[in-house]
């Protein structure tokens, strides 16, 4: 790889969302992630792309899998990784955000991975720091590495990301995973069907490039991939759905509903799952149809690729 092409491989300072990436950017990330999938399956998993770099994982919202995935990704690339779980005292979250950004920046980190409960918060933080920022989920806005790991999982199984039909089912309104996936699948040339009750489908979401369905039978018809989203318990108290029992009856993925999709369709879930609410255990654990564990594996590889490509644009990286 020549120094010039390396620089041009990912022409972005931060990774704040799928929105704003090109098809080439996504392919570059996925290709590099493929390389790390192979590396991660070896006994010696250690790379050196981030040697000497400092990575801070700043999580304003609790997370187990995303935070550990980013931690492992950074460590396997040789970075010094520091985890900060900021207790979200409701009092002055915002003050904490900007103050924390300025404080951390003074410690000269190279990469900051941020999760925050408010849409746009990660972009706001990125304005206050001089290092590269990765969005690990901001409110109901974006979760780009989740969409990328989903894409890598799909590409590895189906060999392509264009011309596919993907159903995303459940609480679209509050889902950053859905928004990032809609954006990515549109960029790559696949069709997105959104399925859920009207109370969980946001206004005018069809204009983001998706078809909207309120029944699983219609929404899953002809789909190659069925992505289930987690239903949060607080949706019940907000009267968005009357009960988990009724939700499972209408939208919970069991064999009967999965049969509406293509015969060889795969099932995905960003986790953590509510078994018996949005997905039946027999589907979640299905050895052939479920890709849920594979998604977790791809997550580490995608995050290694994202960290590395952003680091290539930092000062001091040999080009």
């Amino acid at each position: 790889m020549t120094s010039r092409t390396k620089y041009l491989q990912f022409p972005h300072r931060h990774l704040l969302g799928i929105h704003g990436l090109s098809q080439q950017d996504i392919i570059a990330l996925l290709d590099r992630a493929d390389h790390y999938v192979a590396l991660n399956r070896q006994q010696n998993k250690k790379g050196d792309a981030l040697r000497g770099r400092t990575q801070i994982n700043l999580f304003f919202e609790s997370s187990t899998r995303t935070q550990s995935s980013f931690e492992l990704a950074g460590k396997r690339l040789g970075a010094d990784v520091m985890n900060m779980s900021v207790a979200s005292s409701a009092m002055n979250k915002g003050e904490t955000l900007i103050d924390t950004a300025v404080t951390l920046n003074a410690m000269n980190p190279d990469l900051i991975v941020v999760r925050h409960a408010s849409s746009g918060a990660v972009a706001l933080l990125a304005q206050k720091v001089t290092c590269a920022v990765l969005n690990a989920g901001d409110g109901a806005h974006e979760h780009p590495t989740q969409a990328l790991l989903d894409a890598l999982t799909i590409r590895n199984r189906l060999g392509r990301l264009d011309g596919l039909k993907v159903a995303i089912c459940g609480d679209i309104t509050h889902s950053r995973v859905a928004r990032s996936n809609i954006a990515l699948l549109n960029i790559m040339g696949s069709q997105v069907n959104l399925v859920g009750p009207k109370t969980l489908i946001p206004k005018d979401v069809d204009r983001l490039g998706a078809r909207v369905f309120h029944s699983m039978r219609e929404g899953l018809a002809g789909c190659d991939i069925v992505m289930m989203l987690r239903v949060q318990n607080e949706r019940m108290s907000g009267n968005l759905i009357p009960s988990t029992r009724e939700y499972y009856h209408l939208y919970g993925l069991d064999q009967e509903k999965l049969d509406y999709a293509k015969p060889n369709a795969f099932v995905m879930h960003p986790g953590p799952m509510n078994r018996g609410v949005e997905i039946d255990s027999s589907i979640a654990d299905h050895p052939e149809k479920s890709l849920i564990r594979e998604q977790v594996e791809m997550g580490v590889a995608v995050r290694m690729a994202a960290l590395e490509l952003l680091a290539t644009n930092l000062d001091g990286t040999p080009r």
Binding site: G94, I98, G120, A123, G139, K203, D204, V205, L208
Partner: protein, 428 residues
């Protein structure tokens, strides 16, 4: 005896339908003559250089932080901003700490304004105690102390029975009820207009129905009680037909809009720009255009700045946690002149909405250049272009939704009772 003679000015007075290049004389703080005038001895002559001389503006919705939030804005700093913007009368919202719900507090505002502010300051008082209860405040005592109307500011009255009682009791005294009509339950945790953009940004939306539902309720209650009712701010095109119908039915209903809603739309919150986070929220472009047409057609009576100072700590937050509101008293006139240039609305029509109409609705003897009226006047260069820079505005808080906006119309001087409270003119 002090005398001022304005020469070479375009005198515009919506109330008297005057728009002419002429002269105007001020004698002892009152407007004494308009026409072809020759200078008298010992008279100060002001060469207007072709600028417009208009009635000083009446801004029907100004919040300051006094008392309670003086770090955001004081009556003095708001008054300075008003003078620089050609506003000679500020109607003050009661949402302070404490809330203006007691005659002694109305008196406090009046005294503080007399001592610290150069422009006229007139308070509105709370409809209900604390602006958030169902207990009516003392309308008669508050009126006698100087409260010009009653409002809970940016708080809505959700209890329909409380609203009915407020309207009914107010009509005893022919008092005006000003309501921020928005249903709190439909508003919920919303932070911007509900639609494609809120969906894309992952922000909670506020449907237009939150406004229309409340307006429909209020108008039924106005019909029931016969009270005088002013809808503080309309934001959605869907709200306009109900207002038109109420007026056609003979109800005493009037309606306001903020200058921000006439110039901006929901796209201004793109990139999570919290300065454009307003309540009611900025709506779509079709709504904005409908509001502009409604102003032109007289469906909307009044334009306000909805001046709402918020310090940097309250605004430099993730969008959903940032405070609502924008400053604007200093840019109200320039916003309307820009609207005149951009949308082709008559100058006299846009000026009527900040002079004659608010004066009529509030029963104020102001907002006109009639002979004998107090000489509250603004000299403004209608064509002058400039760029709004929030840091250059006089407010203590810099949260201007119009920050960075290219505008036309620059205030050259502002007079209250014939005395200059702001002037860029060379000493003559």
């Amino acid at each position: 005896m002090s005398a001022l003679l304005f020469q070479n000015v375009r005198v515009i007075d919506p109330k008297n339908n005057i728009d002419a290049m002429t002269n105007l004389r001020v004698l002892d703080g009152l407007i004494s003559e308009i026409g072809t005038l020759t200078p008298n001895d010992n008279e100060q002559i002001i060469d207007g250089k072709g600028c417009a001389l208009i009635p000083g503006l009446i801004d029907m919705q100004v919040s300051t932080g006094e008392p309670g939030f003086e770090h955001k804005e004081t009556l003095a700093s708001a008054s300075l901003a008003a003078a620089r913007g050609g506003v000679t009368t500020m109607i003050i919202m009661p949402n302070t700490q404490p809330v203006i719900d007691d005659a002694a507090l109305v008196d406090f505002i009046s005294r503080r304004a007399r001592d610290t502010a150069d422009v006229n300051v007139i308070p509105m008082a709370a409809i209900t105690k604390g602006c958030n209860s169902d207990q009516l405040s003392e309308f008669a005592l508050l009126s006698e102390a100087g409260a010009i109307a009653f409002t809970n500011g940016d708080q809505s009255i959700m209890n329909a029975l409380t609203m009915r009682r407020a309207l009914s009791y107010a009509s005893n005294f022919d008092a005006l009820i000003v309501h921020h009509a928005i249903d709190e339950h439909l508003f919920s945790v919303g932070v911007m207009n509900e639609g494609e953009l809120s969906t894309r940004l992952g922000l909670s939306g506020i449907p237009a129905a939150a406004e229309t539902v409340m307006i429909d309720r209020d108008l039924r209650l106005v019909e029931l009680t016969g009270a005088r009712y002013h809808l503080a701010q309309v934001s959605s095109a869907m709200s306009l037909p109900a207002i038109e119908k109420a007026r056609a039915d003979g109800l005493h209903v009037s309606c306001g809009v903020s200058a921000n809603h006439l110039l901006l739309n929901e796209n201004d919150v793109e990139n999570y720009r919290s300065f454009a986070k307003l309540n009611p929220p900025l709506r779509g472009e079709t709504d904005r255009l409908a509001l502009v047409r409604a102003l032109e057609d007289g469906v909307i009576d009044v334009v306000v700045s909805a001046h709402n100072p918020q310090d940097a700590d309250a605004k430099r937050q993730p969008f959903s946690q940032a405070a609502f509101g924008s400053i604007g008293v200093e840019t109200l006139l320039t916003a309307l002149i820009s609207l005149h240039h951009a949308e082709g609305i008559d100058l006299i029509t846009v000026l009527r909405a900040v002079t004659q109409r608010p004066a009529e609705i509030l029963g104020l003897n102001a907002g006109t250049l009639s002979i004998g009226a107090q000489a509250d006047m603004t000299l403004v260069d209608i064509g002058a272009p400039w760029v709004i820079d929030a840091d250059d505005l006089a407010s203590k808080s810099k949260n201007a939704a119009l920050d960075g906006r290219r505008v036309q119309g620059r205030v050259e001087a502002c007079y209250v009772a014939g005395k200059p409270v702001f002037s860029r003119l060379d000493a003559q």
